[in-house]
Amino acid sequence: MQEPQTIDFEDRLMHVLLQEQLGGDCAPDLSERVLIRSSQQRLRVIRIYGTAAAAAAVLVAASIIWGLLAFRYPSPQASGGVAVVGGGPLHRGAQVETADSPAQLVLGGYCQVDLAPGTKMSWGGTDKAEEVYLREGSITCDVKRQVGSFTVKTDSGEVCVQGTKFDVQVVRGPGDEQMLGKRMLVRVLAGAVVASTTWGTYNVKAGDDAIVLPEGGIVNGTVIQKGDGWIRVRNDAGTEYKFLPRRDAGTVVTDQPMVAQFNQLAIGGPVKVVWTMQDQRRILALTDLRANQGQILPAGHAPVADATKFPVADLRWGPLREAVLNAAWGGEYCIDFEHDRTAAMPMAMLDKATEDQGAKRMAALKAWMLREGIDAAVLGTGNDAQVHDLSALGMVVKTARVDLAELQVADVVAQLRDQAPDTAPSWVTMPVKPATVTGKSVYLIRTRDNGFGAVELQAADKGTLKLRYRMIVAAPKEPPPQTKPIARAAAPKAHEEEAQAFEPTALEQEQAIVTYSHYQDPYGLWRRGDSGRIFGPVTQKSADWIEVTPQDESPIRFTVPTGGGIGDIVTEQIRNTMVGEKIEVKFAFDQGQIMALNIVRAQ
């Protein structure tokens, strides 16, 4: 007889929650898959009823069977200058492109797709549920009623129809290199379509047009977890995000170079992530800021300078920092000076090295430090022993003859400039015992990543070492003085009155906050006539556009209205605006463009 099964459900619950919280085991966004399958389900239900009716009358059934045998789903037809990428006949999953001339595809006999020159798309879907994935360019679609469904997908959203005529265009902002700036512009010529975005679903009727902005954003933060094909990043506000590699448009092929880049990231290391929503948050661009390659560090951290690349006048001391290294088992006994973090080699990596406390363990530690950008460690000390030195890996180390507070940036740079870090890194010992007339152990350091600085070692409790250190950073350039609002001196006089009309009053400025919050939600889709104000820092600009990134939102690119007048004024305002500066933009949406009508510097 089988024993009754007993299960500790509370333990199981905790196990599941830990898998979720620590391992990132969460449900992906299934809404798209459920939508697709629910529409297929409806079609199946209709088929089932049809079959049941047919079974009731043999004669009718015979004719239906004959009809089914005789009927073949129409093959795709292509005409004009369309090319299948990789060659061969047009098949589902194929990518097609047009060069300088237009082309036409007829899919399933009921969807006529006209491709404009310079269009790139993939053909997918199933019989009577045709789909195309538009990556670049523009298509016009004419779908016969009551035959099947037709869906156009883009990186920003999708349009699903049952029978109508409409066109879809993927629009890039001027100078846009990343998908984040791509938008989907939908114009309905007859009937109505349903446009779906990650923000919601909208009906767009004939004569109307709508633009869909992709959901996405930029997160500056720290890698707190990583796994097989994902990373979790905590931003400066403490919010955590899980990111996956991007998939190729319309496919399930993941971005393998990005997966490889995940493997190089260090837990605790700072990163900048540009992401978009593709059923989950997926990464468009990832910058590992450990080696100071991206020159962008989390708020409050000025970039540590490679002093050899800056004039000394542009360098200054960064903040004085303190750290305690703990040589006890389980303690953090390593330090990364550039990123102000302490760490310990993961226990699992000790592996067989634990069996051999000597060479193998040191080799494992060295390999880990090189990979993770760790600069120095407390070595060879038991839990209760006094720490005698700090071991730096591949760093240039020189004894300083003055106190930490008295060191001059120019002197430090001069002493370290000519001695590059070791290309085949070896250990350099920095004794804790005072070696200078000041009675303090102060050293000038140049890390393997060319961070210049100084460190003071202080013996603390047994098994621990206290450090005080400062790194040299690049001095921020002072912005030129500006007046508020942004000067319009160059604008023609006739336009000044027009511009005055857009000057916000105090009340309007107060209302601007309301207007902005109104736009937070429906942001995914803008309609002709939409207008309002957006507030945020300038993240990019050129002569005829400016990009603002409101807090926690995607960047929004505003263009200059054409035809002079306000356009000239806005051009001048953009010219006088600086990247990083907070501004408020009064805008209106029309003809697929979000146009800036006035720009005011934030109070």
Partner: protein, 180 residues
């Protein structure tokens, strides 16, 4: 049910249904498939008429539970929960222990705080198992313990976390009641 209502329904409840299926013993892929299936079943029954269902989450969990049991019967797999009686019991525990605290949000917040309080070594062991997905053998080698020792250690850690969470939420467990 129209498309927007269906999308909203899925987004509101997918995390809860998936978590419940994992709790019942479904692996990641099965939990994902059955979560999707549960919404399709709900969609067929036109769950859009919300007035027919008092607790949509509970209704979806019921569908998910039945789908999971049907899957187990069909595939003769032997996950943690294998019969309808235990599945029902599991659903009860899930709802009374976890969901009654702000639909689980308060429970998770308390768990995160408790994780933050763990001593470094214990946290490292949890990270190795759950974040780095190391095998029990790897954990045992790293900590210099036997595999059984690791199993007990992990169980004790989970129990300690559960006590910490209950403490934060002001929950008196049956064990504590007995002691009183």
């Amino acid at each position: 049910m129209d498309r927007s209502a269906l999308v909203q329904l899925v987004r509101d409840h997918q995390a809860g249904v998936y978590r419940f299926l994992r709790f019942l013993g479904a692996d990641e892929h099965l939990a994902e498939d059955l979560t999707q299936e549960a919404f399709l079943v709900a969609c067929r029954r036109d769950l859009g008429r919300a007035e027919d269902v008092d607790d949509v989450g509970k209704y979806l969990r019921g569908i998910a539970r039945n789908l999971f049991l049907a899957h187990c019967r069909k595939n003769r797999t032997s996950p943690v929960v294998i019969n309808s009686e235990l599945a029902e019991q599991a659903q009860g525990v899930f709802e009374t222990t976890f969901l009654r605290h702000g639909d689980g949000d308060d429970y998770i917040e308390a768990l995160q705080q408790c994780l933050g309080q763990l001593p470094p070594r214990q946290r490292q062991m949890l990270d190795m198992q759950y974040a780095q997905k190391k095998s029990r053998e790897e954990l045992a080698a790293a900590a210099g313990m036997s595999c059984d020792g690791i199993k007990s250690l992990m169980r004790r850690l989970r129990a300690a976390l559960a006590r910490c969470v209950n403490g934060r939420l002001g929950v008196v467990t049956s064990e504590e009641r007995k002691q009183v």
